[in-house]
Symmetry: C2
Subunit: 217 residues, 2 copies
């Protein structure tokens, strides 16, 4: 058995973050696909709910220590703790907090507002069609990217913070996939675009890409 099992979904940006981190650190893992759409969503089964009470992906299971880990940013912390090198955060605490703030801009400021569950609820509550759902997602991604573009402009080198890949890049790349999917005009965000292009050159990001996953459709 491999040391970790990742319960995820190819297009879930939070699952994708964890895949990037695992590949950056060279950690072997099994992929278990939790199909978020089929049969009303496999994340809602009683079995999965025991693993992840929020009924969200990802859940990372540490097979060595028998621990189920939830919340992608906490999973990144766990991987950094158990497998320190290469680190996902700078060693200086204040620099690490700056990276963390960029991560949170995506993790709490963008992603929750445009994920599948929310778009489904827009349809249930307001009869939103695909165009309305995309407009909603695009609005909130754009708002967050404006803030990120502004702040990363002062910190970026090749990547979000200088020339070392960090957790901020791990969060950014999957969110840009979502942005393109929902029609965000990325020409307005040259810094984010440049960082995304740089990350896409790296094998860890290539292997973690949504399209490269066994459950990609």
């Amino acid at each position: 058995m491999k040391p970790y099992t990742l319960h995820g979904y190819w297009r879930s940006s939070c699952s994708w973050r964890v895949r990037i981190a695992l590949h950056i650190k060279g950690i072997e893992f099994e992929h278990v696909s939790v199909h978020l759409v089929a049969d009303g969503g496999h994340q809602h089964t009683e079995e999965y709910k025991r693993l992840n009470p929020m009924r969200q992906v990802p859940t990372l299971y540490d097979n060595t220590h028998n621990r189920a880990l939830t919340q992608s940013l906490v999973i990144l912390d766990y991987l950094d703790h158990m497998h320190p090198s290469p680190a996902l955060y700078p060693s200086d605490p204040l620099s690490a907090m700056a990276v963390r703030a960029a991560c949170e801009t995506i993790n709490s400021g963008i992603q929750p507002l445009q994920n599948l569950g929310v778009l489904q609820q827009l349809e249930i509550s307001f009869g939103a069609d695909q165009a309305a759902k995309s407009a909603w997602a695009s609005h909130f991604i754009g708002r967050g990217f404006e803030a990120l573009e502004r702040s990363l402009d002062t910190t970026a080198g090749t990547y979000c913070f200088g020339d070392t890949v960090s957790a901020a890049d791990v969060c950014l790349v999957p969110q840009i996939f979502g942005a393109l999917r929902f029609g965000v005009d990325m020409a307005k965000f040259p810094v984010l675009t440049r960082i995304n292009d740089a990350c896409k050159q790296l094998e860890a990001f290539q292997r973690a890409d949504a399209a490269a996953q066994p459950d990609a459709q």
Copy 2:
């Protein structure tokens, strides 16, 4: 001048988190009210945007080191770093991650879906009235609280994690205020209710309460 200036809003749960943390640690701070509703929202001014590109509250300004800090969970990290005692997280890293996961369940799993900006956007995009907005907020708070009730049931003592106040309590109490405001049936969540009642006995939580703020209406 006091060591910190908190740019916040009385009813903002994320501002409230930071107020609790400041009071727990006995740190003096000036309160600057950023009215989220008046004049289309004071968080949208160019001046505030320079401080907080996401145009959200809170921003904590460290007047000693001239640093603007954003993202409430990162601000809690900063306060724990600069003023370690009493700590908001357990010293053991794995226990700290468990607390962090509970914080993230609220911070990314609940709060973003029911804050003022999202409810306003529901009105703009779908013509949602107050009842529809409350139903939306209540739905997502309920989903998150179901997960929290389930997981905290295994960790709680007097507070979310044992008998020591942690960042999880700091996040939970303001979210319960939101839950009550939007009509969530808290009878379904006895563990959360009991923890909230216990926290409300503490002076730090009393001083940080929305109703106790100078800008409360």
